[in-house]
């Protein structure tokens, strides 16, 4: 009996071992293939964000870094390239056109194209720019970056003067910086081969590219519909079955490129392989034979891939940062598991971090909104946010403070000295004084209350009742332990002046969904909502505030409203003035709670690979610069 049992167990284990042995001895085809081609560079995609849209003219649902900066831009270059070294500035060398010239009181803009070629041998011409503009005229509702009054609404006419020159006539004078950085930045010239409405049709047969501006909406809509379907989106039946993703690498349309790369492999999981476009006419040609984007399910899976050395460029997940840095722009010690094979480089994107006050909040019996409208309160609240300390302690030194509406880093010429200086440095006694001098009885560790209501000097302010309390609800996006730590640290700090903040966590989408602008008088109870990401200035690279701080703007979540601010913003878009007035005003006025901005990515670069740095603060990647 014992013998048979032994045999039984042995046979079970043997089958298990045999299975294991069999699969371990089979060849590892992928690994072998990788080892045979050392000039292949692999790059880690951010978790769960594989590229999934190839057509550059897209709706907001597809408008993402993974689709644009990490995918489309490698094949289809925008008219103007932003991100020059580690700055967000325009890069003339990588742009398809020379810097635009402004005339006629900044109402006429002339764009001269350089001698770039499409991979099918045709030149990138003014007609290709017109193709985009005609499509925008016909389908502005389906363009991600469209907002009323902006491109194409502010275009009176466009003239193709020659194959290399196109002139935009505008409806009103513009700030040249704003128009170049925020309007022309949206344009991606499209090849004539895309001006079709059916597979195999003759290039240009769609009738959208060569026609006069704004005269062929019907034709352009047909072309747009066809191209969108080729990309997987059917505008006439968005919920319909259209699995175009697997055809991306084989569809001849998408093989016509003017960028340094052509798509070779693509699947819906995010496996992307690009090969050099041999006819690329830009300044730096690729030298690596393949550029491979690798998808990851989670940060930990990506970290494992780094440790095993299977990606050349990846990122260190924040949970795996083991050492602090004394300078946020310089990497400290790397994770011990990676330090022998990788060097680390911090990347900060062109963004500010903040969360909104709901100025129209009806929360706390209607007390919250009127309190938020008091500048002294906002000053006290901001004074209790110790950004340098949080950057050092919570983000291990990898954080940049936000003091106003313009990023203080990456290096740029837009931020003012006033903002950089930070008018509201951390000071508990100042915060208490601001409150007590405006009629509040400050209860440190408890809840301060309004003792002296009214609108006069030394009183709490309009709409604030006697005994109204400084107690607010703050919902924040969970998922990052650093954000949770930050919220708790700030809660503790606000508590020192008797400002009681009740924290609650929710998903990013929930917070975002709750933080909608409310109209005055409407029931709207949210008070403070922190989705943790503030605002990224892309593709509107000139950091003006018409989208986030102007009265009634769709992304002005807290419904901040100021005539002075609206005037300042209008000036930044319509006159050639600096941002200083707008910027200094909002730095002083605190329309939102400015927050520390944690590092976007601690990029890990395999030793021996050069050209990855400096990294673009606009998150674009240029593997054509990479050299082994």
């Amino acid at each position: 009996m014992k013998g048979s049992i032994r045999r039984l167990v042995a046979s079970g284990l043997a089958v298990g071992a045999l299975t294991t042995g069999l699969i371990t001895t089979l060849p590892a085809a992928t690994a072998t293939a990788g080892a045979a081609t050392p000039s292949v560079a692999t790059w880690a995609e951010a978790p769960q964000t594989p590229p999934n849209y190839i057509f550059p003219f897209m709706g907001l649902q597809y408008f993402s870094v993974s689709n644009i900066n990490n995918f489309q831009f490698l094949m289809y270059r925008p008219l103007y390239w932003f991100g020059n070294g580690s700055t967000p500035n325009l890069d003339p060398a990588l742009s398809l056109a020379n810097q635009p010239s402004y005339s006629n009181g900044s109402k006429t803009v002339t764009v001269s194209l350089k001698n770039y070629k499409w991979s099918n041998g045709e030149s990138v011409t003014a007609t290709d720019v017109m193709f985009w503009m005609n499509m925008l005229h016909a389908e502005k509702a389906n363009w991600a970056d469209y907002s009323q009054g902006a491109l194409p609404d502010n275009i009176k006419s466009i003239t193709v003067n020659s194959p290399t020159k196109v002139t935009f006539n505008l409806t009103a004078p513009v700030n040249s910086y704003w128009f170049t950085y925020n309007e022309l930045s949206q344009i991606t010239p499209m090849p004539l081969a895309w001006d079709v409405t059916a597979t195999g049709a003759a290039a240009g047969s769609g009738g959208c590219a060569k026609a006069a501006y704004g005269t062929v909406d019907t034709q352009c809509t047909a072309v747009y519909t066809f191209l969108s379907k080729q990309a997987g989106f059917d505008p006439s039946n968005p919920k319909g079955a259209n699995n175009a993703l697997p055809t991306y690498a084989t569809n001849p349309l998408w093989q016509v490129v003017d960028g340094p790369w052509k798509l070779s492999v693509f699947d819906a999981s995010g496996n992307v392989t690009m090969v050099p476009n041999k006819t690329y006419s830009g300044p730096t040609k690729p030298t690596i034979s393949k550029f491979v984007e690798v998808p990851f399910t989670t940060d930990s899976a990506e970290f494992n891939a780094l440790v095993s050395g299977s990606v050349d460029v990846g990122y260190l997940p924040t949970s795996d940062v083991t050492s602090s840095t004394s300078n946020p722009t310089t990497a400290g010690s790397n994770n011990p598991r990676l330090e022998s094979s990788y060097s680390m480089s911090p990347l900060y994107t062109w963004s500010i971090n903040y969360f909104p006050y709901n100025f129209n909040s009806t929360g706390d019996g209607g007390a919250a909104g009127p309190i938020f409208k008091q500048l002294y309160f906002r000053q006290a609240f901001q004074t209790l946010v110790d950004q340098p300390l949080y950057n050092q302690k919570i983000f291990k030194g990898y954080g940049i403070p936000t003091y106003g509406p313009v990023p203080v880093y990456p290096q740029n010429s837009f931020v003012s000295s006033y903002e950089k200086k930070n008018p509201y440095t951390y000071n508990v006694s100042n915060a208490k004084k601001l409150l007590s001098s405006h009629g509040w009885t400050v209860v440190p560790g408890g809840t301060s209350y309004c003792k002296n209501p009214g609108t006069g000097k030394g009183q709490c302010g309009a709409g604030i009742q006697k005994n109204a309390k400084l107690s607010f609800n703050l919902e924040y996006a969970t998922g990052s332990s650093a954000t949770t730590q930050l919220m708790n640290a700030e809660k503790s700090s606000w508590g020192q002046a008797g400002i009681n903040v009740n924290l609650s966590g929710a998903s990013f989408n929930t917070v975002l969904g709750n933080a909608v602008p409310c109209t005055s008088g409407q029931s709207c109870s949210w008070e403070l909502e922190n989705w943790g990401a503030g605002w990224v200035f892309a593709p509107d690279y000139y950091p003006t505030g018409e989208a986030i701080f102007q009265t009634g703007a769709g992304s002005n979540s807290g419904s901040y409203s100021s005539k002075q601010n609206d005037t300042n913003i209008a000036a930044t878009t319509s006159k050639n003035t600096s941002l200083a007035n707008y910027e200094n005003y909002l730095t002083q006025q605190l329309p939102v709670v400015y927050q520390p901005n944690a590092v976007t990515s601690l990029t890990e670069i395999k030793k021996g690979l050069t050209g990855v740095t400096p990294q673009s603060p606009l998150w674009s990647i240029n593997p054509e610069n990479w050299r082994f």
Binding site: S4, T20, L512, G513
Partner: protein, 317 residues
């Protein structure tokens, strides 16, 4: 039998319909709506409205649900904006991968666990039995992410025997392109299952060995091997059959933690990501698949039980 199957099928359809209705209604509770979830913080009012109109989200809920059901009858599970793919295509990629991973590990676990459980029962209260019990409890108690991480550190990072992740190419046949990469995830999953299956098996065999018919067989002079394999084992396997049937939802639903650690985009991660992204069509699709698997698994368990035990007559009043 036929009547039983018809009744169970009708019950299943009602359950499936109820589940889709609940998930569909829950999807309507997203703060800011599906448009905000899809378009993000930069969406203007006009864009949100345009999206709602484009995707029919401005219609009454019952109309949207009716359209969803009509689509289901036509085999259309919906379209995931977040993935720019039909739901069926997303599931079509993830499901075979999950079935492959969880299926292999379940088979592997059965092959190892049944002999261990039987041998423990036969040698009950011996040092071997105690040792295997201890190992089982240890494996049962250890969290999946820990065992997976430890295996990666030892066998991938330190020894370099196996890759730390599975190829992410969207294809069922990826196991044949890099079979070594499946070793660690299969072992991680199987370790947990072996522990539970072997305990079931041990207990079941012990129960069976005390039955009257076993004593009778022994009294009639049947040898140990004949008693064990001829009489005890088949009956002892009955509880395990039920367990295997009920494992079907897990096989289809995926193993989130293992998929997570080994970079294996299967059904578990697909479901979690869909929920995190407020991707309602995909949540509905994965829930539907999981519901069907649960119903079918339960039915399968009953049928297997009846097939293995002639005393059981399904549907008998």
């Amino acid at each position: 039998m036929l009547g039983y199957l018809i009744r169970r099928t009708i019950q299943a359809l009602i359950v499936i319909l109820g589940v889709t209705l609940i998930v569909f209604l829950l999807g309507q509770l997203i703060p800011g709506g599906q448009a905000r979830a899809a378009l993000g913080p930069k969406a203007t009012y006009a864009q949100l409205h345009h999206y709602d109109v484009q995707y029919g989200l401005n219609q009454p809920i019952w109309v949207q649900y009716w359209h969803y059901l009509l689509g289901l009858f036509k085999g259309n599970l919906g379209y995931s904006v977040k993935r720019n793919q039909t739901v069926a295509a997303s599931i079509g990629v993830a499901l075979p991968r999950t079935i492959l991973l969880v299926g292999i590990s379940t088979i592997f676990a059965l092959i190892v666990a049944v002999p261990i459980g039987v041998s423990q029962a036969v040698r009950r209260n011996s040092a071997y039995d105690y040792a295997m019990t201890g190992i089982s409890f240890f494996l049962y108690a250890i969290p999946a992410f820990l065992i997976a991480t430890l295996l990666i550190i030892w066998f991938s990072f330190d020894l370099g025997w196996f890759p730390s992740s599975v190829p992410t190419d969207a294809g069922l046949w990826s196991i044949f392109t890099d079979p070594r990469s499946f070793v660690l995830p299969v072992f991680s999953l199987a370790a947990l299952t072996i522990a539970s299956y072997s305990r079931y098996m041990r207990s079941s065999v012990l129960d069976t060995l005390t039955e009257d018919y076993i004593r009778t067989a022994r009294a009639k002079g049947a040898g140990s091997r004949r008693v064990l394999y001829g009489h005890a084992l088949r009956n002892a396997l009955l509880p395990l059959l039920t367990l295997i049937g009920l494992t079907l939802p897990a096989i289809v639903g995926g193993a989130v933690i293992i998929e997570d650690v080994f970079n294996y985009p299967g059904m578990g991660l697909l479901t979690v990501q869909a929920a995190n992204n407020d991707d309602i069509p995909l949540v509905l699709g994965t829930t539907l698949v999981l519901t069907v698997a649960t119903v079918v698994g339960s039915l399968l368990a009953d049928l297997l039980y009846a097939a293995a035990d002639p005393r059981i007559r399904l549907g008998a009043e």
